[in-house]
């Protein structure tokens, strides 16, 4: 109050000016700090006589990779090798996210089950998994489970010609025949029809206020197209190819390597425990009154879960679920411990062969960052849709 009598306070005691100045100084300090770090790196590289650049990626890789989803040989470039690793990472992350979500939801619901045995089993599993180290767990799966399977010559054959060996698990797999191209169009058409059905049902649901089982009907439409298409075409679009042991390895069918299996099962079983807890928290966050009210107006148990509990639980579930998805993707870099050629593993090899440490590490960091940002962007978009609309 006394201040008001005086003329304007000097700027070095003016809180508003000081706040701005403080932030400017802070930003300058941060920039200066990074400037020194980068400068240090650049002079270091100059002293070694190397320069930064990504042109080396066009060089010949020279090494083989066991699991590739695109054409790759030792004469391919480093860039192609990196792409192989990238696709392998995406593959294991994608399958991992789907499986761990399904298992996680089951665990979360089971954790709240009224059945004593189910509830306690689920609780024990969650506690065990959440307190293990993932790396140890992966190595356990690799060395103690998948490599302990019988050797190729003594393969255990399960019904349906499923071969269990320590070289991988051989599964019967569809081989495309000449009608497969046409069948693919049938599937696309089925997809379009399913989307149409979903839209129409959604519209009807909005108008009548009685939401039908949109997803179920859409799925059935697609399945109908797939089944009818299969039999209408002159020949079956896929023939079943069975794996068999020939020489040192399995041929035919689809052979899933023990490295992939170990990584996938490790990641899924581990992440599912965290997702289970997230789901439990989400379900418990829905107040009891909501359930009671739903039952009071005559909804069945399943309807209550689908129409009342889950939509509200999603608000709580989605943000932490996003973190779990990101964790799973990033944890997949532990693949190197079990010899699965993911992006980090391939980059490590490239780094060694080319000696380009700074470039390769930045590339890997940038790629993981991109994965994470895209995942979290998608989940945020979904989260916004799942939020309560307040009127």
């Amino acid at each position: 109050m006394r201040n008001q009598k005086h003329t304007a306070i000097p700027f070095w005691r003016d809180e508003r000016v000081l706040q701005v100045l403080g932030q400017v100084a802070f930003a300058a300090a941060v920039i200066f700090f990074f400037y020194i770090l980068i400068q240090n790196m650049v002079t270091g590289l100059q002293r070694q006589g190397t320069t930064l650049g990504f042109s080396f990626l066009q060089g010949t890789a020279g090494f083989d990779i066991a699991e590739t989803s695109i054409t790759y040989s030792r004469t391919s470039t480093y860039a192609q090798a990196f792409l192989v690793g990238l696709l392998n990472t995406l593959q294991v992350s994608f399958v991992g996210i789907i499986l761990s979500t399904i298992l996680g939801i089951i665990l979360g619901v089971a954790r709240l089950s009224s059945n004593l045995l189910v509830r306690n089993l689920s609780a024990a599993y969650l506690e065990l998994m959440r307190n293990l180290s993932l790396l140890v767990f992966l190595i356990f799966w690799y060395l103690a489970v998948f490599l302990k399977l019988p050797r190729v010559a003594e393969a255990v054959i399960w019904p349906g010609q499923i071969h269990l060996t320590n070289r991988g698990v051989g599964l019967p797999w569809g081989l495309p025949t000449e009608t497969f191209e046409t069948y693919r169009w049938v599937l696309w058409a089925g997809l379009a029809a399913a989307a149409l059905v979903a839209l129409v049902l959604h519209y009807i649901g909005k108008r009548t206020g009685k939401p039908p089982l949109t997803a179920l009907w859409a799925l059935l439409t697609f399945a109908a197209f797939a089944v009818v298409g299969w039999f209408v075409l002159p020949g079956a679009p896929l023939t079943l190819d069975y794996p068999s042991v020939q020489g040192l390895n399995m041929v035919g069918g689809k052979v899933v390597s023990p490295e992939f299996m170990a990584l996938l099962s490790g990641l899924v079983l581990y992440t599912a425990a965290f997702i289970g807890e997230v789901v439990r928290a989400g379900l418990q966050a829905v107040s009891k009154g909501q359930v009671e009210a739903a039952r009071a107006i005559g909804l069945t148990g399943f309807q209550t879960l689908r129409l009342v509990v889950f939509p509200q639980a999603m608000r709580v579930i989605v943000p932490p679920l996003t973190s779990q998805y990101l964790n799973l993707t990033k944890n997949s870099s532990l693949a190197i411990a079990v010899g699965f050629p993911d992006m980090f593993y391939v980059s490590n090899t490239i780094l060694n062969q080319s000696g380009r440490a700074v470039e390769m590490i930045s590339l890997v960091m940038l790629t993981y960052l991109t994965f994470s940002l895209v995942t979290s962007w998608f989940m945020n978009w979904y989260n916004q849709r799942a939020q309560l609309v307040e009127r």
Binding site: F32, F33, R74, L143, N249, V251
Partner: protein, 375 residues
Amino acid sequence: MSKKFYPLFGLLIVAALVLAACGGAPAASGDASEPATADTAAPADDAAPAPAAQTAAQGETLAAVVARGYLVCGANNQVPGFGYVDADGNFSGVDVDYCRALAAAIFGDADAVEFRPVTAPERFTALQSGEIDVLSRNTTWTLTRDTELAGNFTATTFYDGQGLMVPSATGFTTLEDLAGGSVCVQTGTTTELNLADAFAAAGISYSPVVFEDADSTFAAYSEGRCDAVTTDKSGLVSRRSVLADPSAHDILDVTLSKEPLGPMVRHGDDQWFDIAQWTVFALIAAEEYGITSANVDQVKASNTDPQINRLLGNEGELGAKLGLSNEWAYNVIKLAGNYGEIYNRNLGPDTPTYIPRGYNSIYTEGGLLFAPPFN
């Protein structure tokens, strides 16, 4: 009250950060201890004539090692006979003994050395960044490593070739037997490339199963994940000795590549390169002349051969030319032994990792070891 302190807090944080940044910068460059030297030497270089500038830039590594009081050696800790940590935590092996010899040359004390285990992928970075003074970790001499990876190989301390090991029960004898099979291999090595080359040349398909370190590679092999495991033949012999049943595994009579192994130093410091190189030659020459750690004192006192006199520092000033004491080679032989002694200690017939000397004999005995003259 709290609002008033707000800007004050902000300023404090900024001040702390600025201090941290300022404090961090010299520490970061001081870390490697050379950058600082190099930076301060740079302005002087412009003024001084070119030859003087070179000398200034050269002494760097030796000066840093002497100032520190011990040598930092990048070593292996997983390959018995070459670089291995025993149950008591002591390093042993041929590559390890080379570092002891180098420490003896510099300090007259073979224990003035710190061994830093480095993995295959990180070893070159560790050398480039100055974290280690010399890399002595069964590293193969290749053109790329000599140029792009900014290192210099000094001399070959072990002539090796890449081989394949298979379980005896399989009865495999040739590369072709492995058609369609899997091969366990360690990443970050020339091994991985040679393997791809050899199978491509033979036109047979295979699938590589690649691991980060030797331990997991051999663990997967012994679990039967692969039909064969590949690394340098010396490595196969030494790893076989620690497998559950060493007699149940055969090393195929197939050589996939030439693997000259030797210590490596950084680019740019020729004096340090010379010291590292001539230490190897001193070990070889000593065996050639029949000087051992046991008889070196006697030879030094009674010898008349001028070559040997120069080597042991009785005559001439060879040590000074390297920037070392004149008895450097004497210390090497006295404290570390000659090449043959080191070999027998780690890979000789009495060790579990016995490898016949073959190419690794002195040239007079039909091997490839040949030291230039000590003149």
